[in-house]
């Protein structure tokens, strides 16, 4: 093209010349110059022209570069937390907790944060499948309609198998849909079942409901293996309530008491005031004993005091806190849950800490119905089954059999967003959009309606569940219309505040939720006799055999998040292991079995077996082996090559295998209840080993004895005290304040703002939501298992976990750790090129462009919070890169990075305040970690503002700064960890 142009130009130039003269020297030079210039200009063109089309007609509310926020609902689990989604240029880039939301109150857990990445997963289904082949929606609809017509004519069982459906619209649709058939049934189940709680309430109260637990009203809390801060039912909601009772506000300060009885170390157990370690069988016995002890106190029985002194102590504490106590159990056993109800009833907790009149819908699974369905499928009596929001082939104990039974079933329709284990054996797979691409709703707790709204044009040709259902009923309505219709029909009437539906709907969409009235559920009076009779009979026999405990993790849940690399790389809050599940054993048991960390063992029980590597876990019961559910999902070998590939790099997942091992086949049925504790298991060594990657080893704050010939003092990193000591002296447990004499004087003056953070260690549960939040906000790449095992994780904030076994008991402390933005920052002085400098607002700034990568700053950082780009880390494929925050530079290899206190948010808020001509208010700026903290443990603010919440906390006698004695003057402080324990303050 360029050449052609040049010839034309040349010809023209030649034409203009007087022909007789020919070309003289000057003209020749002119022409030569012109040609050369032309060629050069033509050469400057980029090889490929990419079209960037600006908005000719700009959408009304969209300004390029300015984020818009939409309220929606998290679909990471069935808890129904409120979410604010940050939308930039038509794509959501960050999810945050909705502070006004009545359930989550501004918190959002790690899973919630990470669901955003799932939106940009290129392995999601993009079109429906029929018999495993890509099909059109018309074809799928036609075939479904044919089969349904046949069933309508000839009869036959139509079954709907779903996870817990919290959406009233969806539920109504399913009901209507099944109404078309003579034999239609909707079965709900939860892979992490709470069915026994509902069944127990059916037995004791006559209604099959999950009550609402009000942690914010419980002064004494006894939890039998319910990991309510981590994985149980609604962790964010529970964490908020739990922390409210432990805020140490008020005069005199009050503080709840929390005892956790468990066999493995859960996140909740690691926060308990008293953690009682028992095997599953012993826990069962203990619940019965506690029930009897409470019964004795209530005068039902005159039996003597229980033999177990712990039980009598707990009973004493509970009894003295009637109506203000709460007993919970996460065990899915009917007898146990009845006993728990019995205890709570005698303690008068129903109506205060347990609300049954306005029940929760967060778990509605019914194990008995599920078992019945499995039997039906086995016998081949089901004509059509629709599966949505669950993955039974993967997460049920009979998964492999179920796959065969489903293959026998005439029509299996999977409505799912990816080709999971169940979809693979389905005749029809209806591709569903991601929760951030569609309209839906939820009523997680009676009276709280939440809205899910789309934030992006859906990728691919997917169809929301409600639309599919409507289509099969012959209604061509969009999810939006279906939702609005249902709301107008049902929920609009449940409130009186808004006159017009338009107002009601508009407000609900804007806020993300609506609160409506509901008739209090009437339950039967407590069936005391039945419960007591059942209890009196039950006697457990303590077993000396090993028991297997199958538990969910805070990241994988029931396995539905196994395709989310952010969650795989989030360290387990207790073990700090990433990218794996494992069999946790106590040190004693491991030694007895001659097993070491990483040895692969075969766990055998009831003819089933499972090969998993061993992890030695302090604080674990000696008779228990614990394995996490949710791993070993098919297709997770996609992560084999995640992370840098180089000479000595090891794959994240061994080729041809999965991330972790699926433990679900080990689950058992017990009285038609899914059982997560399997007794009498045998462990044998396979001889293989499997390396783990963890972000933190077991180093404690105590110097190991063999390295402490001089003194074995505890390192002054975490201040701890007991509540009793705190009540007597709020500064109890404080470290000796070292007098810091500095030759430097005051190198920096802060005339305007001086940013700082205070973290309340009493509130922090270690849930690690902040870690994922930071990862999403700051474009932190995933580095893969091998890099983590080389201690090169890239997260800017980490939660340090310290075990303390010094006085024979086991306890855990969590401490979030990010850049401390020291006033006398050691990193700043040593950088040869001034790549890390101090701002006049006290921020320690890292200038990526200037960094040459000597790593001296990181070596000299006493907190070791600086992170280095050892390689050019990938940010995933083209679609996954859409999640990147455009406000944040993506760092190249060879540069240092670290927490910035979310400087982009500080700047944004400052600019907004300046534009509006108003001063910046305290709380206007919330770094990503602080925003989503379910416990509100992290407070950010201006240290120069005497009225700020931050300064209030700095003045708290509990306030201290880690390694202050070095004279580096960190801007991050902590509040002493207070626990309601016996004994002196540490």
């Amino acid at each position: 093209m360029a050449e052609k142009n040049d010839t034309i130009l040349l010809d023209r130039a030649a034409d203009e010349l007087p022909p007789v003269q020919g070309v003289n020297r000057r003209d020749f030079l002119k022409l030569a110059g012109f040609t050369f210039g032309g060629a050069l200009l033509a050469g400057c063109q980029p090889a490929k022209v990419e079209k960037a089309i600006p908005f000719l007609i700009q959408p009304e509310e969209l300004t390029p570069g300015v984020a818009t926020w939409y309220a929606t609902t998290c679909a990471g689990c069935s808890a129904g937390c409120g979410v604010l989604a940050k939308n930039r240029d038509g794509r959501p880039i960050k999810l945050e907790g909705n502070p006004d939301h009545p359930i989550s109150k501004g918190g959002l857990c790690a899973i919630g944060q990470a669901t955003l990445l799932g939106l940009y997963d290129s392995q999601r289904l993009m079109s429906p499948l029929a018999n495993g082949k890509a099909a059109t929606w018309d074809e799928v609809d036609r075939r479904v309609a044919e089969q349904l017509d046949r069933i309508k004519k000839n009869g036959g069982a139509v079954r709907f198998l779903t996870g817990t459906v919290t959406s009233p619209t969806t539920e109504a649709l399913i009901r209507r849909f099944l109404g078309m058939f003579k034999d239609g049934k909707h079965i709900q189940y939860d892979a992490l079942s709470a069915s026994a709680i509902l069944d127990a309430h059916e037995k004791t109260h006559g209604v099959r409901v999950l009550p609402q637990y009000r942690f914010d009203r419980a002064d004494v809390l006894v939890s039998f293996d319910a990991d309510f801060l981590g994985t149980w039912i609604s962790p964010v909601e529970f964490t908020a309530g739990y922390c409210e009772k432990r805020s140490l506000q008020g005069q005199p300060p009050s503080f709840s008491y929390h005892a956790q009885i468990e066999s493995r170390v859960s996140l909740t157990g690691s926060n308990a005031d008293e953690r009682i370690c028992r095997s599953p069988v012993e826990i069962n016995i203990m619940i019965t004993q506690l029930a009897k002890a409470i019964a004795a106190k209530a005068g039902i029985t005159t039996a003597g005091t229980p033999t177990d002194s712990t039980v009598s102590r707990l009973a004493e504490k509970l009894w003295s806190a009637r109506r203000r106590s709460l007993v919970l159990s996460g065990i899915n056993g009917l007898a146990i849950q009845i006993a728990v109800n019995f205890i709570n009833h005698l303690l008068d907790n129903y109506g205060t800490t347990i609300e049954i009149e306005r029940p929760s819908h967060q778990k509605q699974g019914n194990d008995r119905e599920l078992k019945a369905l499995l039997d039906e499928l086995k016998s081949g009596s089901v004509a059509a089954i629709f599966i949505h929001g669950c993955n039974p082939v993967y997460d049920l104990p009979d998964g492999q059999n179920l796959a065969d039974w489903l293959k026998k079933t005439p029509m299996v329709v999977s409505l799912t967003d990816r080709l999971d284990e169940t979809a693979e054996v389905s005749t029809m797979v209806c591709a569903e959009p991601h929760a951030l691409e569609t309209w839906s709703d939820a009523e997680p707790v009676t009276g709280v309606l939440t809205i899910m709204q789309p934030l992006i044009q859906p990728f691919g040709s997917t169809r929301p569940f409600t639309e599919s259902l409507a289509a099969w009923m012959g209604e061509k309505l969009s999810a939006h219309e279906l939702l609005q219709k249902e709301w107008e029909r049902t929920h609009f009437k449940r409130q009186t505040e808004k006159r017009s539906f338009k107002d009601f709907w508009g407000d609900a969409v804007k806020q993300g939720f609506a609160t409506v009235q509901s008739k209090p559920l009437s339950s039967r009076p407590f069936n005391l006799d039945a419960a007591w009779n059942a209890l009196r009979e039950s006697t457990g026999i303590a077993s000396t055999e090993l028991a297997l405990v199958l538990y969910p993790t805070m990241t994988m849940h029931d396995g539905r998040h196994a395709h989310n690399p952010w969650l795989h790389e989030l360290p387990d809050p207790v073990t700090k292991i990433v990218w794996d599940n494992y069999a946790s054993l106590s040190r004693k048991t491991a030694e007895a079995l001659q097993l070491e960390e990483g040895d692969v063992v075969r766990i055998e029980a009831e003819g089933k077996s499972l090969d998993v590597p061993v992890h030695i876990q302090p604080g674990q019961d000696d008779k228990t082996v614990a394995v996490a559910l949710g791993y070993g999902r098919k297709g997770t070998d996609r992560f084999t090559n995640i992370g840098p590939q180089w000479l000595e790099a090891k794959p994240t997942v061994a080729a041809g295998s999965c991330v972790g091992t699926n433990a679900a086949p080990m689950l058992a049925w017990n009285n038609s209840m899914l059982t997560y504790d399997i007794s009498n298991v045998r462990l044998t060594r396979t001889g293989q080993t499997h390396p783990f990657a963890s972000t933190q080893d077991h180093h404690s704050l105590h110097v190991p004895p063999h390295l402490a010939p001089v003194d074995g003092k505890r390192r002054p990193i975490i201040q701890e005290t007991t509540f009793a000591a705190y009540a007597a002296d709020p500064s109890s447990g404080s470290f000796e304040k070292a007098e810091v004499v500095s030759l430097w004087g005051d190198p920096h003056k802060y005339h305007g703002y001086h940013w700082g953070i205070v973290i309340d260690l009493t509130a922090c549960t270690g849930c690690s939501a902040c870690v994922v939040s930071c990862q999403a906000e700051n474009n932190i790449p995933i580095v893969g298992k091998d890099e983590v095992s080389r201690s090169r994780e890239l997260t800017w904030i980490r939660v340090d976990r310290y075990y303390d076994e010094s006085d024979g008991t086991f306890s855990v402390a969590h401490q979030p750790m990010m850049c401390h933005h020291c006033d006398n920052a050691p990193c700043e002085t040593v950088c040869p090129v001034l790549a890390t400098v101090h701002s006049e607002e006290g921020l320690n700034q890292q200038v990526y462009n200037r960094c040459v990568g000597t790593r001296y700053c990181s070596n000299n950082c006493p907190y070791k919070v600086r992170r280095f780009n050892w390689f050019q880390y990938e940010h995933g494929d083209e679609r996954q890169r859409l999640v990147l925050n455009p406000d944040i530079t993506v760092r190249d290899r060879g540069v240092m990075e670290k927490c910035t206190f979310c400087v982009q948010r500080i700047q944004e808020a400052k600019i907004a305040a300046k534009r509006d001509g108003v001063p910046l208010k305290d709380g206007d700026i919330q770094p990503a970690c602080a925003q989503s903290c379910p416990a509100k443990a992290i407070v950010f603010g201006d240290m120069n503002d005497p009225n700020s919440e931050l300064v209030k906390r700095i003045k708290d006698p509990r306030h201290y700064r880690v390694l202050e004695e070095l004279g580096i003057r960190p801007s991050v402080g902590y509040l002493t960890l207070v626990r309601n324990r016996e004994g002196e303050g540490a």
């Binding site: 933190q696 890099e787 201690s791 002085t829 040593v830 200037r850 000597t854 070596n859 000299n860």
Partner: protein, 470 residues
């Protein structure tokens, strides 16, 4: 001074009753002959090692610094260990050529040329590591303060790495100049001897028109003296500054005031061990036994005993201060060095640097060249481990136990270390092949030391070079 030279009470510095012509022949003929088979073997091995290092470094530069075993906690390990090790090696050369010159230690003349060459090659090896250890080595020039168009960007004069840059570049320039100035008379000798036109042109250019006149000698000696005076403080300053990389930090095990003298003593200690290693090989391969005599070797062994004592004192002082300080982090770091996961490295260091040199108290061992060779090789190992222990044990176990991490090198790092030895030996072998290993002019000045005068006139006519200019 002639009477000194001929005093029978003195030990002979050069054996074999050489005449001046013999000296010229012995040294210069080496350059005219074909190299020995041993030289070729040595060269082959060295170049192979160098090639391995070049491959490893290229791979690292292409892929990223992650190909080293470093991590978030241990940001330096082999890289800076090698750097400090090589810088330390260089110190013996400067000490021999400058300080011993000023102290009028005549025995230095046989070894100073090669020791200085060693300094230069060691500094080259050392200088490579701070550059390649950077995440973005192509921007290494940013640590140099020079007027630029990048706004107010300037270096951070508070950073010891900037001081390092100055210290090392100064050291390199002074060492090179000193070495070159010392070479001028010998280059002139070679110029006058050679028959090859190319060599002649080369030597003519670099001998700067040397004519051997009284004036040239006088000027030369003045300059040499001045340069020796300039180089002397560098012996102390360079390693002092290198030690500040650690001493000015806040990391327990690094943050200690004893480092400057400790590092200087260690540097001289390791340098002499390396000089001995090279000399023992060179005198054998190049047949220079009459020039580099047992006396030289013994003298150097004695310096090693002295510096080992200083290093040992530093180890003990450092440990004592840590325990006595009451600083729990500091205490832990030192106990952890001795008993923690890197205890093997610590005890290797202690054995090689404190126990091994004690064998040199025995004259028998000092005169047994095989024993000396083995012992100095062990000292080289020990001194490498000293730096490794200081850097890695301190970093891997600092303040917050949550961040403690283990470091182990990757194959790339080991290959880079091997490559640096390859570079060092390749350069040294090229040096012995193309430049006079022994300072002909200076050796001639001490030729008659300890020799009995054969005729009364000899003392008068001996053209002893004045070592001290007034």
């Amino acid at each position: 001074m002639a009477h000194v030279a001929c005093s029978p009470l003195r030990k002979q510095l050069i054996l074999g009753n050489k005449s001046y012509a013999d000296v010229t022949h012995d040294v210069a003929d080496l350059l005219d002959q074909k190299p020995s088979a041993l030289w070729y073997v040595g060269m082959f091995i060295s170049v192979a090692m160098l090639a391995l290092g070049v491959w490893a470094t290229t791979y690292q530069l292409m892929t990223g610094i992650g190909t080293w075993g470093l991590n978030n906690t241990v940001g330096w390990a082999f890289d800076i260990t090698n750097f400090v090790f090589w810088i330390g090696i260089g110190h013996a050369g400067t000490l021999i050529s400058a300080i011993l010159f000023l102290f009028k230690q005549k025995w230095r003349t046989s070894v100073n040329r090669s020791a200085e060459a060693m300094t230069i090659f060691a500094v080259i090896c050392a200088g490579l590591f701070p550059i390649i250890h950077m995440g973005r080595p192509w921007l290494a020039f940013w640590v140099i303060p020079y007027p630029n168009l990048r706004g107010p960007l300037w270096v951070n004069f508070r950073s010891p790495l900037v001081w390092d840059m100055f210290a090392i570049s100064t050291y390199f320039i002074i060492s090179l100049t000193f070495w070159y100035v010392g070479l001028i008379p010998d280059l002139a000798t070679l110029r006058d001897r050679t028959t090859s036109k190319i060599k002649k042109a080369f030597y003519s250019f670099f001998s700067l028109g040397w004519n051997g006149s009284n004036r040239t000698w006088s000027r030369y000696e003045t300059v040499y003296m001045l340069l020796a005076g300039l180089a002397t403080p560098l012996v102390v300053s360079v390693h002092t500054i290198v030690s500040w990389d650690f001493a000015t930090s806040v990391i327990p095990g690094w943050h200690t005031t004893i480092f400057p003298p400790y590092f200087v003593a260690g540097a001289v200690f390791s340098g002499f061990a390396m000089v001995l290693t090279l000399m023992l090989i060179a005198r054998k391969v190049m047949k220079l036994e009459e020039y580099i005599t047992l006396h030289h070797i013994e003298s150097m062994c004695k310096i090693i005993i002295a510096t080992a004592g200083m290093v040992g004192l530093a180890y003990i002082t450092e440990f004592f201060v840590a325990l006595y300080s009451g600083n729990e982090f500091e205490r832990f770091t030192f106990i952890n060095r001795a008993l923690g996961p890197y205890a093997w490295a610590y005890w290797t260091m202690v054995t090689c640097n404190l126990v091994v040199p004690q064998f040199f108290w025995s004259k028998k061992i000092r005169q047994n060249l095989t024993a000396v060779f083995v012992l100095v090789a062990l000292i080289n190992v020990g001194m490498w481990f000293e730096r490794f222990v200081i850097i890695v044990t301190s970093l891997s176990r600092d303040y917050l136990p949550s961040s403690w991490a283990h470091y182990s090198p990757t194959c790339i790092e080991v290959a880079t270390l091997i490559g640096s030895f390859g570079l060092f030996f390749t350069l040294f072998l090229l040096f012995v092949r193309y430049l006079p290993v022994i300072s002909i002019g200076e050796v001639k000045g001490v030729l008659k030391y300890g020799r009995v005068a054969t005729s009364p006139t000899e003392t008068i006519h001996t053209p002893v070079r004045k070592e001290v200019a007034v």
